[in-house]
Amino acid sequence: MEEVDVEPTTTPIPGFDSNQKHLGFVWGPGDILVYETIYKASGGCPFVHEVRKDEDIYSPILRKLFNESHHIFVGLQRIREDLPSKNKKPQFVSISKNYRSVIRACMEELQQVAGIVYVYHVSSCIITLELIWNLCEVLFIDAAPAGSLVLHLLDWVRLHKADVDEKAREVLASESPAEHQAYWDVVISYVLQGRMDEARQVLVKQAALQPAARVMFKLLDNLLMKMPIFNPGETQTLTEFDVKWRHWREEVDHCLQDQSFASNRHLEDICKILVGDEDVLLEYKELLSTWYHFLVTRLLFSHPTVKPTELHYYAQSSMHMFLDTRSVPEPLDSILLAAFEFDIHQVIKDCSIALNNWWFVGHLTDLLDHCKLLQSHNLHFGSNLREFLLLEYASGLFTHHSLWQLAVDYFDHCPEFGRVYLELQIERVPLDTERKALKVIRICEQRQMTEQVRSICKIMAKKALRNNRLGSALSWSIRAKDAAFATLISERFLQDYCAKGTFSDLDLIDNLGPAMLLSDRLTFLGKYREFHRLYGEKRFSDAAKLLLSLMTAKIAPHSFWMTLLTDALPLLEQKEVIFSADQTHELMFCLEELTSGKSVPTPDRPMQVLGYTPPYPLSNVCFPFNLLIHCFIICSNLYSCLARG
């Protein structure tokens, strides 16, 4: 397979001279930044230029194309594999038509947007896409056999030569249509397109003007009417049609030999066209305008029963006959030629090179692959052509701030590398808002991409912590199952509490549930808050029990024990005895453990929180005295317990 060898395009970067400077660069998410530099020396005034590919994905009209074709793509993937291919053919043709209608809709919208050079360029490109896709549908997907083939090709040409109808409308709307400058152009164009009925209707106008030549016109009209057209639905076989057609052709030829139309050059030309006179056809190059129109017309009038396998011969000769020997074949020409040669791989390759987007080749190849028309090549990574192209297309979508979500489905349907590409790229989606982050996470969770989920949650937690949003940071680190970070944030909560005397984000902490178990510190935070709640609800004995367990079960860090013991004070001071004798004993034990050779920071939380106003400012009291107070209170409590028996 030869490669179309094309030189790489050069993009100029303004503002500096390549002869004097080097060009530094860095890859970005959809662009590349370049800047002047000199890798060895120093000195200079730098710019940084943002360079992008000619961007289709940012056009809002094309966005609809991407969205709707995504819908069709996903539907196509879901067609069940177990049905035999031949039953699926109508389905595939229908899908192909869907794609084409999406292209046409896009084209129409673009044509309505006037006056912008870029849009024009894209729009004419889109017309080409539809032309190629349509031909691929006729030849590969619908795979029309001899007989129907010419009819399908006629439809194809007619669809892309719509200016005839416009011209016809203009002519017929004029005062004297038969005298209109474009009159004969219209008639001949209709004949060239095999639209005999329309041609006859227009001819009638001329016939009316020349009553003397009535017989001649009637004769031609008759010939046009009788032209056999293959009808695949009828029981007529191809051979029968062929016989009929040759018969008719002989009749036309007779008329020519008889000079029946000699007096009117136009009518004679039409007659010559009907017998497939190539020289006359070529005289009407302007009306045909393309070599493939010439090809189809040639086939209609010379080989209407052409077989698909014979197509390429006529295609090549048509192209040679029609084009100047000097003119260089355009990429479109080689693509169409490759299609007529049924060389699908060449079509795809040439399209990849010539068209500035992966959308087209990606979707077309995918459809052809479903039709089982692509042999699988063993590629470098072991993937295949379809996957290669879809990966390219989807990767391009990923850089767009909203289209990236479409890309996910494409990656899902690339069995070899889709997952790893998705993993790589989805991590890079900027997490601008919590909502967006959650969206990305949901996509990852659906695909068991646990590492990506963890990473994203960690990034969000870190961001929240940086902005001092502790509650958000905590919930993200819980989601990330990051025990170390959760511990850190819990510490911060506790520190904040010590400093301010209140908890922030109470809702979150109150409803931790089993997540509390992620880290010891987090558990403590949750339980400590629960203690405060119980106290607030005046459920003192429950509060007391919890408080004690926080120390005895070693949930509370030692650094916090002083605070907890201080918290115990108001409970001890209550009129009713809250702590039992055993509990008081344990409290003392904790106090002892705390003071035995360990340095403990003094708590400086205001105790007003618990509604307890000490007769002296406890926080100002130095440590040992503080302890004595504790001991005293605990002992007195113990005493009252014992006194009660």
């Binding site: 395009t9 890798y39 005034c45 355009e330 987007n357 870190k462």
Partner: protein, 363 residues
């Protein structure tokens, strides 16, 4: 391709490195003017400089971002023989309103006795780790054992070679099938020692990096080196900027069953492609995110993009070249650089270079 936007970088001297952050919303530039600037991309695509500060007492050669899991962290390295780690702190509210932020230095790595030529963070699965390399041929691996404390970094290992080092690349593979790997390139012109690219692999048993391979076919000075994203492949792909652009394939040969071996994996080295289109020294190579495109920059003042088609044939698909024209709309302050000139000006340029015919494999 077209120039979508031109940003006046406002450095007073040459820019040596530009680095995008992980999400592509921020960038850092560093310059011979000894400073680093951080830029943020707004919603409408405009770049705003949100921080600019003096980082070193010599030219800053490279600047790089840590993974956002570790916060907003940068590392820079300089001619002044140090590398530094910086962290952004959320500023006062009035700073935020003015769109400014502050970066503070968390640590300075002063072990090197010569210019530090490159600094790179390790892949995130390795924790908070970075590597520097110096002009005297020493590569150092540092780790911050507590990721919450960026001021504590410990030197894990120092590896000396006889050749001056210019560039480092970490293998990005997080697969358990691959041990962590570092490639170091040397720009030493000493021809007595061939093999200007060394590959080091982490050995579990010794908890140290050991030399796994020396690319003997690379005999000319190497200016840049880059592993491609791994994509779940069993082998590694490494691009090298030397007198041409070269792409190597490194295939690990040892089987998993060789448990407890204390040596690095044997690597089979194959060359995938070699391009001399720059026709001169190549200074930088870098892969895009999906490793489908390689970009290189050369002495010819051009950036070239390279792509493999589905048959794995590599081709140059685009060229970016300075056209010598002044940046449109620049004012009287000279656009022609000769000495450390004044700041340039911001302008927007979007000339479409689109064409229908013979376009190349885009992307």
């Amino acid at each position: 391709m077209f120039v979508a936007r031109s940003i006046a970088a406002d450095h007073k001297d040459l820019i040596h490195d530009v680095s995008y952050d992980f999400h592509g919303r921020r960038m850092a530039t560093c310059s011979s003017d000894q400073s680093v600037k951080v830029w943020d991309k707004s919603d409408n695509g405009e770049w705003n400089c949100t921080a600019s500060w003096k980082t070193h007492s010599g030219s800053v050669w490279r600047v790089t971002w840590a993974h956002p899991e570790f916060g907003q962290v940068l590392a820079s390295c300089s001619f002044d023989r140090t590398a530094a780690v910086w962290e952004e702190i959320v500023g006062e509210s009035n700073d935020k309103q003015r769109g400014l932020s502050h970066w503070i230095k968390r640590t300075t790595l002063v072990d090197s006795r010569t210019s530090v030529t490159d600094v790179k963070f390790a892949p995130k699965h390795m924790g908070l780790m970075l590597t520097t390399c110096s002009a005297d041929g020493v590569m150092r691996v540092y780790e911050a054992p507590d990721v919450m404390n960026l001021s504590q970094w410990s030197l894990q290992q120092e590896i000396s070679s006889k050749l001056s080092c210019s560039c480092i690349s970490w293998s990005p593979s997080s697969s358990r099938a691959h041990a962590p790997m570092i490639a170091v390139g040397s720009d030493d012109s000493n021809t007595a020692y061939s093999g200007k690219v060394h590959i080091y692999e982490y050995i579990e048993n010794t908890r140290k990096y050991a030399k796994a391979e020396n690319l003997m076919t690379v005999t000319d000075p190497v200016h840049d080196i880059a592993f491609a994203p791994n994509l779940g492949r069993s082998f590694h792909v490494l691009a090298i900027a030397t007198k041409d652009v070269r792409i190597f394939k490194l295939i690990p040969l040892r089987k998993e069953s060789a448990v407890g071996s204390s040596g690095p994996t044997k690597l089979q080295v194959q060359i995938l492609a070699q391009f001399d289109n720059h026709n001169s020294q190549v200074w930088r190579v870098s892969w895009n995110i999906s490793s489908t495109l390689l970009a290189s920059s050369g002495d010819d003042g051009c950036v070239r993009l390279w792509k493999a088609n589905y048959m794995d044939n590599w081709k140059c698909t685009a060229i970016l070249r300075g056209d010598g024209s002044p940046v449109a709309g620049s004012s009287s302050q000279a656009a022609v650089p000769s000495t450390a000139g004044g700041p340039q000006h911001v302008l927007l340029q979007a000339s479409s270079a689109g064409r229908k015919k013979a376009q190349l494999i885009p992307g």
